[in-house]
């Protein structure tokens, strides 16, 4: 029996009707298996040529959502999107959360390349690349960092030699997320060695091209989400240059803004049950109903106050954006604070679960899920620009401090 959609005070009549239709469609089309919490990384649907669906339900859910354009609800319909307004998109997200619907598709194409192509791509590029992203047919990775270009990303050296109708790309990238699983790469390359920021171009190419090799990197978490990626005279057709030659840094900065906002909100997506209540279940309460570890309780409360305030900041950032009052560098502040907050959450999580959180293998610990996640969060304040780089950006662009 389908529940009626809730009445939301702010909804206009049109939005209320959209909410009701959306709720009904989701009830009818989201398979029950796709309305249970994910239990492991394998439950995430990333799409792409190499992807193996974990269940028929996962595949059906992706197909149904893609058909409606709802893997990318606010993209134009011409590019495989749902053509929804920002407010409709917000309603869809709210309704999916209310019914516990899993995300049908996780994708760097959706989160990062798509917005950049919509902003900087030619019509032909949009038509070629956006619909396969929306369908989950092509999985993308991001070729940014290099061994000698980390925080100082603009010093990157992977070169693209101009050969008339194509480039030949040679060099090495590192920390390329899921490069071994991706089909295509969006990549920053050097097209002018005389200009640092104005000598970088943004190109796209197939990871199956001759001359591409990937090597996964084993991390402290025991996982290998990142790769070293090597290019040896990889041929890239010039129609796959995005934006103007030597102006790729503009595309990169735009895209990093999206990435930072995404990493900054990681903790929010994971926040299911308040940490304090998880601690209450694990450690117990005293006869006054307070956590039976006063010092830990105080630290958790301080953390949760900050988490609550940060969630309101994310909400306010959206409101400021819609009112055209947001500073363009605001995502750097959000990325800094959100990633540091998530690290704090997992340090406290390890304290809460104590000995039980220290096991690395075996069913009891879900293969060391907590320990591995704790270690994984340490990358939050490194990837997508370190906390220190974000603070540099805030100093320079928002606070306008000298020489920054």
């Amino acid at each position: 029996m389908a529940e009626a959609a809730p009445v939301v005070a702010d909804d206009t009549p049109e939005l209320a009707a959209f909410r009701a239709d959306t709720r009904a469609w989701l009830e009818a089309n989201c398979p029950p298996e796709m309305r249970r919490p994910m239990t492991s990384e394998e439950d995430v649907c990333w799409g792409g040529r190499k992807f193996r669906f974990k269940s028929p339900a996962q595949q059906v859910w992706l197909q149904r959502m893609a058909q409606r354009g709802w893997t990318v609800p606010t993209w134009p319909q011409a590019y495989g999107g749902g053509g929804l307004s920002p407010l409709q998109g917000k309603v869809l997200a709210q309704e999916m959360r209310a019914l516990n619907c899993r995300s049908p598709l996780n994708s760097f194409g959706i989160w990062m390349l798509g917005p950049a192509l919509l902003q900087f791509g030619t019509e032909a590029q949009k038509l070629e690349h956006l619909p396969p992203i929306a369908r989950g047919a092509i999985r993308w990775c991001q070729g940014y960092s290099e061994p000698n270009a980390g925080s100082d990303l603009a010093s990157l050296a992977t070169k693209a030699e101009d050969c008339g109708d194509h480039f030949l790309v040679t060099g090495q990238k590192i920390w390329t997320s899921y490069a071994d699983k991706a089909d295509w790469i969006f990549c920053l390359v050097r097209t002018d060695t005389a200009n640092k920021h104005n000598g970088i171009s943004f190109v796209l190419f197939d990871m199956a091209s001759p001359g591409v090799r990937t090597q996964p990197i084993l991390l402290i978490s025991g996982a290998s989400p990142f790769c070293e990626t090597f290019f040896d005279n990889v041929r890239v057709d010039k129609r796959n240059l995005v934006g103007t030659l030597n102006k790729g840094w503009d595309v990169a900065k735009y895209l990093l803004g999206h990435e930072r906002q995404m990493i900054g909100s990681i903790g929010d997506r994971e926040a299911a049950k308040p940490l304090g209540l998880q601690a209450a279940a694990a450690i117990g309460l005293d006869d006054q109903g307070r956590l039976a570890d006063p010092s830990l309780r105080a630290q958790i409360a301080e953390f949760e106050v900050d988490e609550a305030a940060f969630r309101l900041m994310m909400e306010r950032a959206g409101d400021l954006g819609r009112a055209k009052q947001a500073h363009p560098a605001l995502p750097s502040m959000l990325k800094y604070y959100g990633s540091e907050l998530n690290k704090r959450r997992w340090e406290l999580m390890m304290s809460v679960f104590g000995i039980d959180a220290l096991e690395w293998e075996g069913e009891r610990s879900h293969q060391g899920d907590r320990a591995r996640t704790w270690l994984r969060t340490k990358a939050n304040s490194i990837e997508g620009g370190t906390s220190e780089v974000q603070l540099n950006i805030v100093s320079k662009r928002i606070l306008e401090l000298p020489g920054a």
Partner: protein, 374 residues
């Protein structure tokens, strides 16, 4: 509701900013302190507050006020914080008015709200007793006698106590009740001792010895008193948080100005990454605390009885953020920050008092945990 100011609220902010920066800049507080002013605030300015509508911002139009809400009250408090303006607005215009609106009978409201809105009278809440804010452990008692009540106890940090006409005294009634009693500040048995405070703002200690009040002096009943008190305190805490955030923003702006101009080692000190990163981290705290503040104000306006958790977040964050802002402010101003001639120390002193007022960050983080259930 969007977590940004509406156009009307923005207009109010701009006019309050212009008015307060012109009529009551920080040097006005310095003059009050240095002249050991008997009132500790400017009565002409207080009259102007009434003309501007600030004293009646929360008072219903039917009682001569503007009939606005806690977002608007906060907008004014924010500007007061920026100028460190000493006035009874927080005690009288916000806290006492809220207590009367929530707990007062029609007769009590008619007797007092118009006078408070027009600045003809000053009222204040007398709640704290010991060193820390513990509103649920009152030692002051009220016992029924004859037609009325007899109150005994001692109160501390009674804002503007020495200039108040009306004290709203929180007292324990029997084993379980809490009463809010309207007490004439000049009644027999009331002793008011002005306490000169670190921040040069007004407060007093009040002793109540066998103070007799009539049956019509209680706001509501001993059964409703605790709820009225809790909501009244939340209004006060949120307004104090707004003053803290205004103060913190102002200190931050002054500190940025200073490190953009001060040279050492042949460079502007604002070029040093050691200062830049601390300034940027503080900026993040200021913005995040402001988001929490606006949410708490909106919750108070939506339903003042259920805003406690949001107010706890806002007050805890504002207290911590302002504390960081004033400490960084003094440190980054170097030796200048330690001088009385420089204003920055005034901000540090005021932040300390506002953070303690009606619960510091420890109190509110503890309250938050209890709200969540651990």
């Amino acid at each position: 509701m969007a977590l940004i100011l509406t156009d009307d609220q923005t207009q109010l902010r701009d006019s309050a900013r212009d008015f307060l920066s012109e009529q009551s800049p920080v040097k006005a507080l310095r003059q009050l302190r240095d002249s050991a002013d008997a009132d500790g605030f400017s009565r002409p300015l207080w009259g102007q507050f009434a003309e501007m509508g600030y004293t009646g911002v929360l008072v219903p139009e039917s009682h001569g006020g503007l009939g606005l809400g806690h977002v608007e009250a906060g907008v004014v408090m924010d500007q007061i914080g920026r100028q460190l303006c000493a006035s009874p607005l927080l005690a009288s215009g916000i806290v006492a008015v809220t207590a009367l609106k929530l707990g007062g009978s029609a007769a009590q409201q008619s007797a007092w709200l118009p006078k408070l809105a027009s600045a003809q009278a000053i009222a204040t809440l007398a709640i704290d007793e010991g060193g820390k804010h513990r509103p649920q452990r009152l030692a002051t008692t009220a016992r029924a006698e004859g037609e009325g009540w007899v109150i005994d106890g001692a109160k501390a940090l009674v804002l503007d106590g020495h200039v108040a006409d009306l004290l709203i005294v929180a007292a324990r009634v029997g084993d379980a009740g809490t009463g809010l009693f309207m007490v004439d500040a000049r009644a027999a048995g009331v002793t008011v001792e002005r306490t000169v405070m670190v921040d040069a703002h007004n407060a007093a200690r009040v002793r109540l010895q066998g103070v007799r009040v009539g049956a019509d002096a209680i706001l509501g009943t001993p059964e409703t008193g605790a709820a009225t008190l809790a909501a009244t305190l939340d209004a006060g805490r949120c307004a104090a948080a707004a003053e803290l955030m205004g103060l913190a923003d102002e200190v931050f702006a002054r500190t940025l100005d200073y490190i953009r101009q001060r040279k050492q080692f042949g460079r502007l000190i604002g070029e040093f990454q050691g200062l830049q990163h601390r300034a940027s981290a503080l900026y993040a705290d200021l913005e995040i605390s402001r988001a929490a503040l606006i949410k708490a104000q909106q919750k108070l306006d939506a339903d003042i009885t259920t805003a406690g958790k949001a107010v706890a977040v806002a007050k805890a964050r504002a207290g911590r953020t302002a504390t960081t802002a004033v400490q960084e402010g003094v440190q980054m101003h170097g030796g200048m920050g330690m001088t009385d001639a420089f204003d920055i120390g005034f901000f540090m002193k005021r932040a300390r008092v506002l953070n303690e007022l009606w619960g510091d960050q420890h109190f509110h983080q503890d309250a938050f945990a209890s709200h969540v259930g651990y």
